[in-house]
């Protein structure tokens, strides 16, 4: 009765950085591919990987892009030891990757409906693949509305994509806003939830995808509800401390859920009650 050998879920695989793009002062987007001999992964929008800076540490980072041939894109904001090390990676260097983990946005289940993306700050990273999926399968969806907020203009990530999407006005409606700006900003100033009220979409036939700071997600949900989007058609991506991503370490619990396994994407009907209990 010898135990069968089980593979080690905590073992990262080496990926090579093939492109680095500095989005803002502290946000970097890098494109990676598996090194020879490493099987490529089938990841979905909304899923995440554990990214390992050799010997420094490992953190959960969402997929911010999925490219053909197992090429992956991640966007990292430097906020601490590990994320800082990741933003210092150069082209040609190696990063350890475990994944993909979690339940994604399941964009395909919104086919036939309007898509409303509401993003705040680095929360735009996991949402970019939603927009890319909708544009790649444009005829499968109704209106595509992208609402993005940042604290200041210089903190807006993916500005090239936003510009490109905004130019293709027939296909997609893009609105951006910042919390505060100088005179050189001609766009909207205010919180992203204000954009929800003005955006053009059919609330009864829309699915909303929301990611950002927890307060922003609560307010965005409220605005969407006021527009008439049912809670069950609003999807949020939750965030908690995470060490293992395979539901063993206990850190990412939120009430009855284990976020790395049951999320990170939840519909608001399930998640909102948990987010409204303080200190949970």
């Amino acid at each position: 009765m010898l135990a069968e050998r089980v593979s080690e879920p905590m073992e990262p695989q080496p990926y090579r950085v093939i492109e680095v793009r500095h989005e803002t002062a502290d946000v970097v987007t890098f494109t990676i591919e598996p090194t020879p001999g490493i099987a490529s992964m089938d990841a979905l929008p909304g899923q995440f990987n554990m990214l390992w800076a050799f010997g420094v540490g490992e953190v959960p980072i969402s997929l911010s892009g999925l490219r053909p041939g197992g090429v992956l894109v991640h966007t990292v904001r430097s906020v601490g030891t590990v994320s800082e090390a990741l933003t210092r990676l150069h082209s040609g260097e190696i990063v350890g990757v475990r994944g993909p983990f979690g339940r994604g946005w399941e964009v395909e289940t919104a086919e036939g409906d309007d898509i409303v993306v509401v993003a705040g700050g680095i929360g735009f990273a996991p949402l970019r693949p939603v927009v890319e999926h909708a544009l790649a399968n444009r005829s499968a969806f109704g209106r595509v509305v992208v609402l993005v907020g940042a604290r200041r203009p210089e903190e807006m990530i993916f500005d090239e994509d936003l510009l490109r999407w905004a130019v293709a006005t027939d296909d997609i409606a893009v609105e951006v806003t910042v919390d505060a700006a100088g005179h050189d900003w001609s766009g909207h100033v205010g919180v992203v939830t204000e954009l929800v009220g003005r955006a053009r979409f059919d609330a009864r036939h829309a699915v909303a995808f929301v990611c950002g700071p927890e307060v922003m997600m609560r307010f965005a949900t409220r605005s969407l509800q006021e527009r008439g989007v049912p809670l069950g058609r609003i999807r949020l991506s939750a965030e908690r401390n995470m060490h293992c991503a395979v539901a063993h370490c206990g850190h990412c619990q939120l009430g009855e859920y284990i976020i790395c396994r049951d999320g990170p994407v939840f519909d608001a009907a399930r998640l909102l009650p948990l987010l409204t209990v303080r200190g949970r």
Partner: protein
């Protein structure tokens, strides 16, 4: 595979038979004033003639007036320290030119354990951790490799003052999950063990030991041991509908009341046989050429446990105690399909300030309004609500 009876000498031969089959035999011993698990050389290493007295925040060993080998309840350790070790190297890598890094270990040769003296609540606790470490889509190879341990259960005859396995329906009688289960019968000159067989390898091992078939009076005597234990549980908890009932009291003022006593010391989580939280940390050698990933026991009572950039989600002790208790008795069910508590009482005994999960639940669920029973903090009389404190004039 009917039950048999072996005597003390037979039990010695049973341990020797395990050792001759290359098992590392781990069993209770008396160490540092407590019952502690350790590798044993033979039956003489067991805590013969000892018993324990347990209360909220207190533990004492006493001498018994017989030579029983298993005449005590569970001590501070649980078998989790062998299956889910306090510290495990899960991955090691070497930096290599061009390919970046390659795996350099660990080469995890799991010990071949035989656990002797496993109580019913502990079998239940192992079953709960099985669901966590083996039941999901990613199995933990370290746990898996150790889980094949040979299990010699011992039926409980001496429940501790903080035990409530009968309430949690995890004991005191083990019905499954063992290779062999012993009921120790000590009466006058008689010192025997009624042995139930739970697996073919248990049956096989028992074949090496002289025994006689158990008759109905032996089986009756064995049954009486656990029946009497069942009636002498030191604690009780009304477990019906607990997940829903606790989910409804998340903002109860009693959480603040517990928080005013709780030190956030993590002791309750370390002694708990089901608590599974761990922290993963990466280190390198000084040259930065070799990296090691280590998993260590963690606790939801630490601030770091819920740390997110900017601060901890569960920033107060109230939040952390509430997380712990509601996880054990409420949200665990949704997460893994069972309760997270087996009623072993360790968290009560080993809490330095005597916080008692059974008392806190009772206070949280007490009907509101006039006549609501007050539960005195840290009181060691949880079965009935303590009498209302006298109001000083």
């Amino acid at each position: 595979m009917g039950s048999v009876v072996i005597d003390r000498r037979g039990f010695e031969l049973l341990i020797a038979a395990l050792q001759s089959r290359d098992y590392k035999v781990v069993a209770p011993t008396a160490r540092d004033g407590a019952i502690a698990y350790d590798e044993i050389g033979g039956v003489s290493d067991l805590p013969a003639g000892l018993t324990d007295e347990q209360e909220a925040g207190s533990y004492r060993l006493w001498c018994r007036d017989d030579d029983a080998l298993f005449g005590y309840a569970v001590g501070p350790q649980s078998w989790k320290r062998y299956l889910f070790e306090p510290k495990t190297v899960v991955f090691r890598a070497q930096r290599v030119e061009r390919v970046g890094f390659v795996r350099a270990g660990p080469s995890d040769a799991a010990p071949r354990y035989a656990f002797v003296g496993v109580r019913s609540c502990e079998i239940a606790a192992i079953g709960i951790q099985d669901r966590v470490f083996l039941g999901g889509s990613h199995a933990d190879p370290h746990y898996r490799a150790r889980r094949d341990a040979f299990i010699v259960a011992v039926q409980c005859g001496e429940p501790g003052g903080t035990c409530f396995c009968a309430s949690m329906r995890t004991g005191p009688r083990a019905e499954a999950g063992f290779d062999l289960a012993l009921t120790e019968i000590v009466a006058g000159d008689r010192h025997e063990f009624v042995v139930e067989v739970g697996s073919s390898r248990g049956d096989d091992l028992l074949g090496q030991v002289p025994s006689r078939p158990a008759d109905s009076s032996d089986l009756g005597a064995a049954r009486a041991v656990t029946d009497s234990a069942s009636e002498r549980m030191g604690r009780r908890l009304d477990a019906d509908g607990l997940p829903e009932r606790l989910a409804a009291v998340l903002e109860h003022s009693h959480w603040d009341q517990v928080a005013s006593r709780c030190l956030g010391c993590t002791s309750c989580t370390l002694v708990c046989p089901t608590c599974f939280c761990s922290r993963v940390s990466d280190t390198t050698d000084l040259k930065g050429l070799e990296a090691t990933r280590t998993r260590t026991w963690d606790s939801c009572f630490t601030l770091g446990h819920s740390y997110l950039h900017g601060g901890s989600v569960r920033s107060t002790i109230r939040d952390r105690y509430r997380q712990w208790l509601t996880h054990k008795l409420s949200t665990w069910v949704a997460q893994f399909g069972t309760s997270g508590c087996v009623g072993c009482g360790r968290c009560i005994t080993w809490c330095p300030v005597g916080i008692d999960i059974t008392v806190e639940v009772q206070a949280l669920l007490a009907p509101l309004g006039p006549g609501r029973p007050t539960v005195s903090p840290g009181a060691g009389a949880p079965v009935e609500p303590a009498a209302p404190a006298e109001v000083p004039r």
